[in-house]
Symmetry: C2
Subunit: 132 residues, 2 copies
Protein backbone atom coordinates (compact mmCIF):
# COMPACT_ATOMS: atom_id res chain seq x y z
CA UNK A 1 0.00 0.00 0.00
CA UNK A 2 1.24 3.50 -0.85
CA UNK A 3 1.36 6.44 1.51
CA UNK A 4 -1.51 8.13 -0.28
CA UNK A 5 -3.44 4.88 -0.35
CA UNK A 6 -3.14 4.47 3.39
CA UNK A 7 -4.25 8.02 4.07
CA UNK A 8 -7.26 7.55 1.79
CA UNK A 9 -8.21 4.29 3.41
CA UNK A 10 -8.28 5.88 6.83
CA UNK A 11 -9.91 9.11 5.65
CA UNK A 12 -7.01 11.27 6.71
CA UNK A 13 -6.22 14.50 4.89
CA UNK A 14 -3.36 14.06 2.50
CA UNK A 15 -0.94 16.68 3.73
CA UNK A 16 2.62 16.96 2.62
CA UNK A 17 4.00 16.09 6.03
CA UNK A 18 1.90 12.97 6.48
CA UNK A 19 2.78 11.64 3.06
CA UNK A 20 6.50 12.14 3.68
CA UNK A 21 6.34 10.55 7.13
CA UNK A 22 4.50 7.54 5.78
CA UNK A 23 6.92 7.19 2.89
CA UNK A 24 9.82 7.07 5.31
CA UNK A 25 8.11 4.43 7.39
CA UNK A 26 7.16 2.41 4.33
CA UNK A 27 10.70 2.55 3.02
CA UNK A 28 12.41 0.84 5.94
CA UNK A 29 12.06 -2.24 8.07
CA UNK A 30 13.75 -0.53 10.97
CA UNK A 31 11.66 1.16 13.61
CA UNK A 32 12.10 4.90 13.74
CA UNK A 33 11.71 7.34 16.57
CA UNK A 34 10.21 10.78 16.16
CA UNK A 35 13.78 12.09 16.37
CA UNK A 36 14.99 9.93 13.55
CA UNK A 37 12.07 10.92 11.38
CA UNK A 38 12.73 14.55 12.11
CA UNK A 39 16.29 14.22 10.88
CA UNK A 40 15.17 12.51 7.70
CA UNK A 41 12.53 15.18 7.13
CA UNK A 42 14.65 18.18 7.98
CA UNK A 43 12.62 21.32 7.39
CA UNK A 44 9.63 19.48 5.98
CA UNK A 45 7.61 19.35 9.09
CA UNK A 46 7.51 20.23 12.72
CA UNK A 47 8.10 17.99 15.72
CA UNK A 48 4.51 18.42 16.78
CA UNK A 49 3.22 17.32 13.40
CA UNK A 50 5.35 14.20 13.46
CA UNK A 51 4.12 13.31 16.93
CA UNK A 52 0.53 13.96 15.94
CA UNK A 53 0.85 11.90 12.80
CA UNK A 54 2.51 9.00 14.60
CA UNK A 55 -0.20 9.05 17.23
CA UNK A 56 -2.97 9.06 14.65
CA UNK A 57 -1.38 6.24 12.66
CA UNK A 58 -0.87 4.15 15.79
CA UNK A 59 -4.46 4.60 16.82
CA UNK A 60 -5.66 3.50 13.42
CA UNK A 61 -3.41 0.49 13.60
CA UNK A 62 -1.27 1.42 10.61
CA UNK A 63 1.94 1.53 12.57
CA UNK A 64 3.11 -0.16 15.69
CA UNK A 65 4.47 1.81 18.60
CA UNK A 66 7.31 -0.06 20.22
CA UNK A 67 8.25 0.76 23.76
CA UNK A 68 11.95 0.13 23.86
CA UNK A 69 14.17 0.47 26.87
CA UNK A 70 15.02 4.02 27.59
CA UNK A 71 12.66 6.82 26.95
CA UNK A 72 11.99 6.94 23.25
CA UNK A 73 9.23 5.13 21.46
CA UNK A 74 9.89 3.78 18.00
CA UNK A 75 7.45 3.16 15.21
CA UNK A 76 7.19 0.65 12.36
CA UNK A 77 4.62 -0.07 9.71
CA UNK A 78 2.48 -3.04 10.68
CA UNK A 79 3.02 -5.58 7.98
CA UNK A 80 1.26 -8.49 9.58
CA UNK A 81 -1.74 -8.13 11.79
CA UNK A 82 -0.66 -11.01 14.01
CA UNK A 83 1.65 -10.82 16.98
CA UNK A 84 5.25 -10.61 16.20
CA UNK A 85 8.50 -9.94 17.90
CA UNK A 86 10.75 -6.93 17.74
CA UNK A 87 14.45 -7.13 18.22
CA UNK A 88 16.59 -4.36 19.59
CA UNK A 89 20.32 -4.50 19.06
CA UNK A 90 22.27 -2.99 21.93
CA UNK A 91 25.20 -2.45 19.61
CA UNK A 92 23.75 -0.53 16.66
CA UNK A 93 20.58 0.48 18.47
CA UNK A 94 18.33 -0.61 15.63
CA UNK A 95 14.93 -2.09 16.28
CA UNK A 96 13.54 -4.50 13.70
CA UNK A 97 10.49 -6.63 13.17
CA UNK A 98 11.36 -10.29 13.36
CA UNK A 99 9.05 -11.46 10.66
CA UNK A 100 8.80 -15.18 10.70
CA UNK A 101 9.55 -15.48 14.38
CA UNK A 102 6.17 -16.05 15.92
CA UNK A 103 5.64 -16.26 19.64
CA UNK A 104 3.85 -19.38 20.73
CA UNK A 105 0.20 -18.87 21.47
CA UNK A 106 0.03 -17.35 24.90
CA UNK A 107 -2.83 -18.30 27.17
CA UNK A 108 -3.75 -15.62 29.63
CA UNK A 109 -5.40 -16.51 32.92
CA UNK A 110 -9.16 -16.44 33.01
CA UNK A 111 -10.75 -13.01 32.89
CA UNK A 112 -7.89 -11.24 31.19
CA UNK A 113 -8.66 -9.72 27.81
CA UNK A 114 -5.85 -9.15 25.37
CA UNK A 115 -5.87 -6.13 23.11
CA UNK A 116 -2.38 -5.92 21.78
CA UNK A 117 1.12 -7.04 22.50
CA UNK A 118 4.61 -5.71 22.58
CA UNK A 119 7.31 -8.37 22.49
CA UNK A 120 10.83 -7.06 22.52
CA UNK A 121 13.98 -9.11 22.59
CA UNK A 122 17.16 -7.26 23.40
CA UNK A 123 20.51 -8.53 22.25
CA UNK A 124 22.99 -8.36 19.39
CA UNK A 125 21.80 -8.50 15.80
CA UNK A 126 23.35 -10.69 13.13
CA UNK A 127 25.26 -7.85 11.50
CA UNK A 128 26.81 -6.59 14.73
CA UNK A 129 27.50 -10.13 15.99
CA UNK A 130 29.80 -10.71 13.02
CA UNK A 131 31.96 -7.77 13.95
CA UNK A 132 32.55 -8.80 17.53
Amino acid sequence: MSAIGILSEYKMSKTNGRVKILKELLGTDIALSERELQMRLEGICDRATIYRTLKALSQKGVIHKIATEGTVAKFVIKKTPEDHIHFKCTDCGKVRCMTGVVPGNIELPKGFIKKESNYLIIGICDVCAKNL
Copy 2:
Protein backbone atom coordinates in the same frame (compact mmCIF):
# COMPACT_ATOMS: atom_id res chain seq x y z
CA MET B 1 14.56 -12.56 50.51
CA SER B 2 14.40 -9.43 52.64
CA ALA B 3 15.41 -5.95 51.58
CA ILE B 4 18.49 -6.05 53.76
CA GLY B 5 19.30 -9.55 52.55
CA ILE B 6 19.24 -8.45 48.96
CA LEU B 7 21.45 -5.46 49.64
CA SER B 8 23.93 -7.68 51.46
CA GLU B 9 23.97 -10.24 48.70
CA TYR B 10 24.88 -7.63 46.12
CA LYS B 11 27.29 -5.78 48.38
CA MET B 12 25.32 -2.56 48.32
CA SER B 13 25.40 -0.14 51.23
CA LYS B 14 22.32 -0.46 53.38
CA THR B 15 20.97 3.05 53.30
CA ASN B 16 17.59 4.07 54.56
CA GLY B 17 16.33 4.99 51.10
CA ARG B 18 17.38 1.75 49.44
CA VAL B 19 15.82 -0.37 52.14
CA LYS B 20 12.53 1.50 51.88
CA ILE B 21 12.52 1.31 48.08
CA LEU B 22 13.19 -2.41 48.14
CA LYS B 23 10.52 -2.97 50.76
CA GLU B 24 7.98 -1.25 48.56
CA LEU B 25 8.97 -3.37 45.59
CA LEU B 26 8.96 -6.56 47.65
CA GLY B 27 5.55 -5.75 49.04
CA THR B 28 3.67 -5.66 45.76
CA ASP B 29 3.26 -7.69 42.62
CA ILE B 30 2.45 -4.59 40.63
CA ALA B 31 5.19 -2.83 38.74
CA LEU B 32 5.93 0.63 40.04
CA SER B 33 7.32 3.68 38.31
CA GLU B 34 9.76 6.06 39.91
CA ARG B 35 6.82 8.42 40.31
CA GLU B 36 4.74 5.89 42.17
CA LEU B 37 7.63 5.03 44.44
CA GLN B 38 8.18 8.69 45.15
CA MET B 39 4.58 9.10 46.27
CA ARG B 40 4.83 6.08 48.54
CA LEU B 41 8.09 7.35 49.99
CA GLU B 42 7.09 10.97 50.40
CA GLY B 43 9.92 12.84 52.05
CA ILE B 44 12.07 9.77 52.59
CA CYS B 45 14.23 10.12 49.58
CA ASP B 46 14.95 12.18 46.57
CA ARG B 47 13.98 11.52 42.96
CA ALA B 48 17.61 11.09 42.02
CA THR B 49 18.15 8.49 44.71
CA ILE B 50 15.18 6.48 43.55
CA TYR B 51 16.39 6.56 39.96
CA ARG B 52 19.90 5.59 41.01
CA THR B 53 18.66 2.76 43.17
CA LEU B 54 16.36 1.43 40.46
CA LYS B 55 19.18 1.55 37.95
CA ALA B 56 21.56 -0.28 40.25
CA LEU B 57 18.99 -2.95 41.10
CA SER B 58 18.16 -3.46 37.42
CA GLN B 59 21.79 -3.86 36.51
CA LYS B 60 22.27 -6.45 39.21
CA GLY B 61 19.22 -8.29 37.99
CA VAL B 62 17.21 -7.88 41.17
CA ILE B 63 14.39 -6.02 39.50
CA HIS B 64 13.05 -5.97 35.99
CA LYS B 65 12.65 -2.73 34.09
CA ILE B 66 9.53 -2.85 31.99
CA ALA B 67 9.18 -0.51 29.07
CA THR B 68 5.48 0.14 28.91
CA GLU B 69 3.72 2.21 26.34
CA GLY B 70 4.12 5.85 27.01
CA THR B 71 7.21 7.27 28.51
CA VAL B 72 7.55 5.85 31.96
CA ALA B 73 9.43 2.73 32.87
CA LYS B 74 8.07 0.49 35.59
CA PHE B 75 9.94 -1.86 37.86
CA VAL B 76 9.13 -5.17 39.54
CA ILE B 77 11.09 -7.60 41.63
CA LYS B 78 12.29 -10.50 39.51
CA LYS B 79 10.79 -13.58 41.03
CA THR B 80 11.76 -16.04 38.36
CA PRO B 81 14.91 -15.82 36.32
CA GLU B 82 13.23 -17.11 33.17
CA ASP B 83 11.35 -15.11 30.61
CA HIS B 84 7.91 -14.14 31.56
CA ILE B 85 5.16 -11.92 30.43
CA HIS B 86 3.93 -8.66 31.85
CA PHE B 87 0.39 -7.51 31.51
CA LYS B 88 -0.70 -3.90 31.40
CA CYS B 89 -4.32 -3.05 32.02
CA THR B 90 -5.50 -0.06 30.03
CA ASP B 91 -8.28 0.48 32.51
CA CYS B 92 -6.54 0.61 35.88
CA GLY B 93 -3.08 1.16 34.41
CA LYS B 94 -1.50 -1.55 36.53
CA VAL B 95 1.32 -3.66 35.20
CA ARG B 96 1.71 -7.16 36.61
CA CYS B 97 3.90 -10.18 36.16
CA MET B 98 1.98 -13.05 34.64
CA THR B 99 3.63 -15.79 36.58
CA GLY B 100 2.73 -19.10 35.14
CA VAL B 101 2.20 -17.76 31.65
CA VAL B 102 5.36 -18.70 29.82
CA PRO B 103 6.08 -17.64 26.28
CA GLY B 104 6.88 -20.51 23.98
CA ASN B 105 10.53 -20.92 23.28
CA ILE B 106 11.36 -18.37 20.64
CA GLU B 107 13.90 -19.22 17.98
CA LEU B 108 15.73 -16.23 16.65
CA PRO B 109 17.19 -16.26 13.14
CA LYS B 110 20.81 -17.35 12.83
CA GLY B 111 23.36 -14.87 14.10
CA PHE B 112 21.11 -13.08 16.55
CA ILE B 113 22.12 -13.25 20.18
CA LYS B 114 19.51 -12.78 22.86
CA LYS B 115 20.37 -11.01 26.07
CA GLU B 116 17.04 -10.23 27.62
CA SER B 117 13.41 -9.89 26.79
CA ASN B 118 10.49 -7.68 27.46
CA TYR B 119 7.10 -9.19 26.72
CA LEU B 120 4.16 -6.97 27.37
CA ILE B 121 0.54 -7.74 26.70
CA ILE B 122 -1.85 -4.84 26.82
CA GLY B 123 -5.51 -5.35 27.59
CA ILE B 124 -8.02 -5.48 30.41
CA CYS B 125 -7.19 -7.29 33.62
CA ASP B 126 -9.52 -9.73 35.35
CA VAL B 127 -10.58 -7.23 38.01
CA CYS B 128 -11.45 -4.46 35.56
CA ALA B 129 -13.09 -6.87 33.10
CA LYS B 130 -15.66 -7.77 35.77
CA ASN B 131 -16.75 -4.16 36.12
CA LEU B 132 -17.38 -3.55 32.45
